[in-house]
């Protein structure tokens, strides 16, 4: 009897959270899926099309996925590029800076500088990056520097060249997000017991060996945390693309998040955009599960 009362009370405590989750997460997700099965314009589409939106996205939307011509292109392909280079870039640079700057005199200054772009909004950072990449030599810092170094250099419109634009965007993303990765990894690195490192050195391990065989395995947990966070970030990417290139030139820098936003809010094709959102959810969901499981394991471990 008492047991039952306690259980009831527990449910009562969870109830507000459950209601909120249902209203703001579960219902919208189901609704998005339902809408993805409809065609036509507006938020109250009436024409049921089944899975045709998905079919069109994956086979007949050259801006979303085009595999008939090598190399494959489209938002989906660009997003894979983001996933690899952005996640990899933030991780590698974050780790490098965390380890190399550790204990040096410049540590604070370097870390502040690297963290700075995290503090300003992504939109502001994107506007700054737009200036940086401008082909106009009187504005574009990057072209000005390259021209200074190599006098014969012709300025490149980094954001106007299909072959380069994605890399320029990803570099901007890395510039912004390395701060977070560095902070997390630096904290973890500092928490490594110095006695272990000392012992390794006494046993004659080179600094490289110490890092590779001792520090890195200890950092596995925070590294995978950062990696998954960055992968999720790359899959959700939209702000930089929207501000810096509007998906251009000629749609070559679109990513999934941009396509979703553009189809729904620019093209008013709510059903079609919802299908993009659902496709975006497919790789995101398992990652979230992994992340949540890890947090739970960490909490119960301690």
């Amino acid at each position: 009897m008492k047991e039952r009362g306690a259980q009831l009370r527990a449910w009562l405590f969870i109830l507000p959270a459950l209601v909120l989750l249902a209203a703001y997460l579960v219902y919208p997700t189901i609704q998005t899926f339902r809408m993805s099965l409809f065609g036509g314009a507006g938020f109250n589409p009436t024409r049921f099309v089944g899975l045709r939106n998905y079919l069109q996205l994956l086979t007949h939307d050259s801006l979303f996925l085009k595999i008939t011509r090598w190399p494959p292109s489209g938002a989906l392909v660009n997003n894979i590029l983001w996933l690899i280079l952005f996640s990899g870039g933030t991780l590698v640079f974050g780790l490098l800076i965390a380890v190399i700057a550790n204990g040096t005199r410049l540590e604070r200054i370097v870390k502040s500088a690297v963290f700075l772009p995290m503090v300003i909004s992504a939109t502001a950072a994107a506007v700054i990056a737009r200036f940086l990449f401008s082909p106009d030599a009187s504005v574009g810092l990057l072209n000005a520097i390259l021209k200074g170094l190599f006098p014969g250099f012709t300025p490149v419109a980094w954001l106007g060249t299909s072959e380069v634009v994605n890399f320029a965007l990803i570099a901007t993303g890395v510039w912004i997000w390395t701060g977070l990765s560095m902070t997390v990894l630096s904290a973890a690195y500092k928490s490594i017991d110095t006695q272990i490192l000392e012992a390794a050195r006494v046993d004659g391990a080179s600094p490289w060996m110490t890092f590779w065989r001792i520090s890195l395995p200890i950092l596995a947990q925070p590294i995978s945390f950062v990696a998954i966070t960055m992968i999720i970030n790359s899959l959700k990417m939209i702000d930089l693309v929207l501000v810096m290139t509007v998906g251009g030139p000629a749609g070559t820098s679109r990513v999934i998040g941009f396509s979703f936003y553009w189809e729904v809010f620019n093209n008013n094709l709510v059903g079609y955009g919802s299908a993009v959102a659902i496709l975006m959810l497919i790789p995101l969901a398992p990652l979230m599960v992994v992340q949540v499981r890890r947090i739970r394991r960490q909490e119960s471990g301690k």
């Binding site: 314009a41 007949h60 050259s62 801006l63 990449f133 401008s134 082909p135 106009d136 009187s138 490149v156 419109a157 980094w158 954001l159 106007g160 060249t161 299909s162 290139t245 509007v246 251009g248 030139p249 000629a250 749609g251 553009w262 189809e263 620019n266 093209n267 008013n268 094709l269």
Partner: protein, 427 residues
């Protein structure tokens, strides 16, 4: 009980008097209800016009006026007069029988033929005509057929303002021969490219086919007329590395304001820029020292087929009538006249460019006067076509297709096929 009667009886009497009184007043002069999108300064400018009309009115400004209007028409509760920003809706309401024709060639028309002809160019009368009857009066307008140049730069190479497409191409060559880059295009904003195309297309096919391509998609994007217009467009920017500021990639990463800045700044990257009349406000902001009309100015977008002359592509608001009454007639005649339009064009707040040709150009600043002159003389006036197409076409696929054509003009047919594929499923 009696006390209650004493209290209530006078109230009842007063109430009765008030209701009958207001009914009598209503019979004498009906209040005209008006719906438009304008608020703030724009509303203030419009109210100045209404206040001077002597007609009792109630004005409702709503950003979502098109949606509001749709529901109110469906509920049989339409305003007497509404201002629509899209000509497509005028036609739709007219064909479903919701609108009162303003002119059908009869003596008791709301707007008599003589009044219309005295105040508006043929382009605007055609614009408001649906199936032979005139339904919509243009209230204010703006032009997107303004080609920006620098008079001093033109003089320096001894050139004249180009009148035809061939003149424009010759001018470009002259600039190249003088070691200069002729053209700047803000191609990152795809709508600047659609504006280019619209001006070219309407000059080659006229208003009818133009509307059929954009509004109803009776004409396909792979149609020979479209192909011919695209080929004209290609002439103006190829070879890209010679004619375009920043070449292909520079053009495709330049936003529309930056594109104009490129020709205005010291050490300009190019000499000519095309976009609408509204560009002058950006020039004023970014280059306050330059003198409008002297340091920068515009000419009419050159003609291509002499048969169509120099049509004006632009935007504006159209007044339509849902319920007629003597007051509505009086107000509409007022709105179509010289006096009302002069008040509106010279309002301290929310002044507009009036398409009414009786308005003296002296009420405007120098460049606005030029834009007004261009508008009031328009032989053909069409609305921005990409705005009238479904957004997936006119606000997305057309951008991408034209950007591809800038980059790879030889394979323009691929881009048009892509555009047509999107259009085919969007109407």
């Amino acid at each position: 009980m009696r006390r209650m009667l004493i209290v209530f009886l006078p109230l009842l009497v007063v109430g009765f008097l008030v209701t009958t009184g207001s009914q009598q007043a209503a019979a004498q002069s009906k209040t005209v209800s008006i719906l438009a999108t304008w608020g703030g300064d724009e509303e203030a400018g419009f109210r100045a016009v209404l206040d001077a009309s002597g007609v009792a009115y109630s004005y409702e400004g709503n950003r979502d006026s098109t949606v509001v209007l749709k529901t109110r028409v469906a509920a049989n509760n339409a305003p007497d007069i509404a201002f629509l920003p899209r000509p497509g809706e005028v036609a739709a309401y007219a064909r479903q029988g919701s609108l009162v024709p303003l002119n059908q060639g009869q003596s008791d028309d709301i707007l008599p033929t003589s009044l219309l002809n005295a105040n508006y160019a043929k382009g605007f009368i055609d614009l408001g005509t649906v199936d032979g009857k005139f339904y919509a009066l243009i209230a204010k307008a703006n032009s997107k057929s303004t080609f920006w140049y620098k008079p001093a730069s033109l003089r320096a190479i001894g050139a004249k303002i180009p009148d035809t497409w061939d003149d424009l191409l010759a001018l470009e060559d002259k600039y190249i021969a003088a070691g200069k880059t002729p053209l700047s295009i803000g191609g990152q904003d795809g709508w600047t490219l659609t504006d280019w195309f619209e001006n070219i297309y309407v000059r080659m096919v006229g208003a009818d086919t133009y509307m059929k391509l954009h509004v109803t998609h009776e004409v396909k994007w792979t149609d020979p007329t479209v192909v011919a217009a695209i080929q004209k467009f290609i002439q103006v920017f190829t070879p890209q590395d010679k004619k375009l500021a920043g070449g292909v990639s520079g053009t495709l990463s330049t936003a529309f304001i930056d594109g104009f800045n490129l020709i205005l700044r010291p050490n300009p990257a190019a000499e000519l820029y095309y976009e609408g009349g509204f560009m002058s406000s950006f020039a004023k902001q970014n280059f306050p020292k330059l003198v409008p009309g002297k340091d920068y100015d515009f000419f009419d977008f050159p003609s291509i087929d002499p048969q169509y002359g120099k049509p004006v592509v632009g935007g504006g608001d159209l007044a339509v009538v849902f319920a007629s009454s003597p007051e509505v007639t009086k107000l509409m005649r007022w709105l179509a006249g010289k006096q009302a339009n002069t008040i509106w064009a010279s309002a301290k707040k929310g002044a507009v460019v009036s398409p009414n040709k009786q308005v003296s150009l002296s009420v405007y600043s120098v460049l606005t006067a030029k834009e007004a002159k261009q508008l009031t003389q328009a032989s053909i006036f069409v609305f921005d076509g990409s705005d009238m197409a479904p957004p997936a076409v006119g606000g997305d696929a057309e951008f991408t297709a034209l950007q591809r054509i800038i980059k790879d003009p030889e394979n323009f047919m691929d881009a048009l096929n892509f555009l047509e594929e999107v259009a085919a499923r969007s109407y």
